[in-house]
Symmetry: C2
Subunit: 504 residues, 2 copies
């Protein structure tokens, strides 16, 4: 044994992943740990997938409902989806195989705001939770759990599951102890839920470990396997331009007296543009920044090292292999500057609105009136899911959405007459940024927004077609508040589906 | 003088509405009191409208930006819109003349979540507030303001305005003193905003009066005029059926152990269906109910009288003339059971999520995948606005939307393949109810929702066409997550615009 299981009572429950997977029955609801490729169980899902494959080969029905924190990894989401083992999936995913199974109709996917998921489970709206499968760093002498590289919905799943399987992963650094802040009262059902006592990004309000009922533990598996950590991409020109416009906007807001010099706490989605923003902050004028966000990315670790980022709050890591190694080697050091929280605290509307968090998230497309699509491709296909973008956007001091102005070599415009699916309504979107520029939509009515978005954000190839759509809509619409020609509003998407490009 | 102005220092500022209106300059941003026909200024807006009319007759430019709590009345919104006096309007309106001016392009309307409006003003995102015009019941000896029948955004407008005009309305009952609970710290800018200390509907956390800086008061007008109180309509059959399904659903949730016997705090929109729900509660089994909502309606007063409603929290009244009279005659009595709060407290996400409020709001249409349109008619025309429905829906324990299944004598289906505008996304909608039945969407994926909504909620005349759309979408879609045929998804709306009916 690894020495990570320090409670005698737990030691007797150690078994192989294959034996643990044998416990599962067809139709179970399973709550897995895992958030953005961090802290998911590494060996149980493949073992369960193998069991499902064999059952299917014998002609038996075997599918499960898979609930997580957010996205996981090929050996988790991918493995279970590959064998057609997932009947239902929530609340967020990004694995290519799982995505394909959602889009071919095999898996029912319910795309849920991340801050809602623990509530829905606790309220009993998703049914009984038959099993929780949770990765941890260690089990203490007192029989408590040291979380690993994400917390996500683990607190809720451990509390609500009938049975629990633990994966104790030796790859996760022991230095993580003390970085986590597990707050329990947020999980109380109304009317027993007190105000969330966070008024500053770094506030610690809970405990470093998670409680667990030993009687519910049906198996413990020992592992030594890395998280799915994706190598860092070089920053591309478009991302740098977008980050530049965004950071200039922040500087202008400070100058206008609408933001303090150290800004408000920042939230940012993951990906190239977010990394470019973080890189820009490293060079930029802002000191003593804080971040109240979902995931800790490479750039934040650099910002902490530089002294510019005073403290960061999140629910998970999303690091490159290099940065993950750096984190593991120095976790105890970073634990002074990083707080990992349950996702109903990291994404909590109370904290976000109270502290005036500035949100910045990627999008698939925006329309000329400021509605944003974060999830769907051409109306019907699911990409990843809304994740926590709604939690932050709706409650932000102001909310930003960023994207290159085109995709697929110019065949797709990210600015369209009408989005093919709405995840963030016109009521929620403050600022849109592309490599073409920034549209500040605050206080504008729809027709005013259209002008700003088209002239500042659309790619030059699509600017004139968008102006023409507006002109047409003004003649065809049944009202001038949000002028649309419903006959052609989705015509760009239809053209892409028929011809492979939105261009005429 | 009326005796309602009890501070000597204020008395010298009394003048006529005409003199007060002469203070205003072209282009000013004006923050008015007023929420759902209650507590708006009664004589200043018509006087300002007359001044604008005369200026226009002389060929001079004269328009203002009009910010309020929510909707007002013909002598306010209507009068200013009638003379083309409103360049910009936020955050909610329902006056027919103002609506017409929004839809003919005269007025730019920014449709804003009510809980956001005070924040946006305080953060400086809507520009300087040149003037606040606020109705009050009285001015105390100490120079504080007793609010009238609504609070809305008054606290913010009084704090942020460069100048203030007060209307002291003798029609408003002195018994209202003590009903209001004005909480100031929610108006602090981050990082100086503490947790909102409300854990129970009736919690009083503020003061019964509003503070004001005497130096900013440029005019006081004395009035004696009733609110716009709309007569109560007899409950129609469809509303009673919808209320019945909704109340049966609540009872089933109690039985399943997912709600306590006195339910969670209830929020409800205004109108016939809301009144039918309240009437149903009067007959129903639930005792010791509470309501955390936006407006106090007739049915709530009845519920208080019956002893079934223990306490109600809101930001305004929306009463029939009869009920308003009853309220005015017995305000001191009702003040023990009713709390009127600023709208950034009545609609606060913290309080709503923490207490597990059950939301129930009207809609214009829903689509088969659970997206809801609350604001737009056939894509382009604004009806009223989103109001507080988003504040409650997003943070509710579960959220309901209600509507008759058809409108315009059957020519319009409230269940459509794709909504023409999205105000509440698929991620936010738990339950849809029409007179045909109820669709419980909790935990369902889009294809599953479509089946429930079509079979349970759509009108029989539209059920088969909806099934046919689904069948077509399944063959045409580029993915099976949310199958759409983008060529025909908005076809029902197009057909209505071309032929006057959604029917083929």
């Amino acid at each position: 044994m690894s020495g990570r299981i320090r409670s005698e009572a737990f030691k007797s429950k150690v078994m192989s992943a294959v034996d643990a997977a044998a416990i599962v029955e067809n139709g179970w609801n399973i709550g897995f740990s895992g958030f953005t490729g961090a802290g998911y169980p590494k060996v149980f899902p493949p073992a369960l997938a193998e069991r499902i494959r064999e059952a299917h080969a014998r002609g038996e029905e075997f599918m499960v409902s898979s609930w997580t924190g957010a996205s996981t990894a090929p050996e988790h989401d991918g493995a279970l989806a590959e064998v057609d083992g997932v009947r239902f999936r929530a609340p967020y995913q990004s694995d290519p195989v799982q995505r394909a199974k959602i889009n071919d109709g095999t898996t029912y996917y319910s795309d849920i705001h991340l801050s809602h998921m623990p509530n829905l489970v606790a309220q009993g709206f998703l049914g009984d939770l038959d099993l929780a499968v949770i990765e941890v760093t260690a089990i203490t002498e007192d029989g408590e759990l040291v979380p690993s590289s994400s917390i996500g919905a683990n607190r809720t799943y451990i509390e609500k599951a009938k049975r629990i399987i633990l994966e104790v992963n030796e790859w996760q650094s022991e230095g993580l102890f003390g970085m986590h802040d597990v707050y329990y009262p947020i999980g109380n059902l109304p009317p027993h839920r007190p105000p969330l006592p966070i008024t500053s990004t770094g506030d610690r309000i809970g405990t470093p470990t998670m409680k667990i009922d030993l009687d519910k533990v049906v198996a413990i598996i020992e592992t030594d396997a890395p998280d799915r950590n994706t190598p860092f991409k070089d920053l591309d020109e478009d991302s740098l331009k977008i980050a530049g416009y965004f950071l200039d906007f922040l500087a202008a807001e400070v100058k206008a007296g609408r933001l303090p010099e150290n800004l408000n706490p920042l939230q940012s989605g993951v990906g190239n543009i977010a990394n470019a923003v973080l890189a820009g902050l490293l060079e930029g004028p802002f000191e003593n920044i804080t971040s109240y966000t979902e995931v800790i990315q490479d750039g934040m670790v650099d910002l902490i090292d530089s002294g510019k980022l005073a403290v960061a709050s999140a629910t998970a890591f999303s690091l490159s292999p290099t940065a993950a190694e750096r984190m593991n080697d120095n976790a105890a050091h970073y634990a002074k500057k990083i707080v990992l929280r349950p996702m109903d605290v990291s994404n909590n509307p109370e904290a976000i609105r109270r502290m005036g968090v500035i949100s910045c998230n990627g999008m698939i497309e925006a329309d000329i009136y400021g509605n944003v699509n974060s999830t769907h491709v051409m109306g019907s296909r699911m990409q990843n899911g809304i994740g926590g973008s709604g939690d932050f956007t709706r409650n932000a001091f102001f909310s930003c959405f960023v994207s290159p102005s085109t995709a697929k070599g110019g065949a797709i415009s990210a600015i369209v007459p009408m989005v093919n699916h709405v995840d963030h309504t016109e009521h929620d979107v403050s600022v849109i940024v592309t490599e073409q520029g920034l549209a500040d939509l605050r206080g504008l009515a729809p027709r005013q927004r259209a002008e700003k978005i088209i002239e500042n954000c659309a790619h030059p190839d699509y600017r004139e077609p968008l102006r023409e759509y507006v002109k047409l809509a003004h003649t065809k619409a049944n009202g001038m508040h949000t002028p649309h020609d419903l006959r052609t509003a989705l015509g760009w998407h239809v053209r892409f589906l028929e011809t492979g490009t939105m261009k005429e």
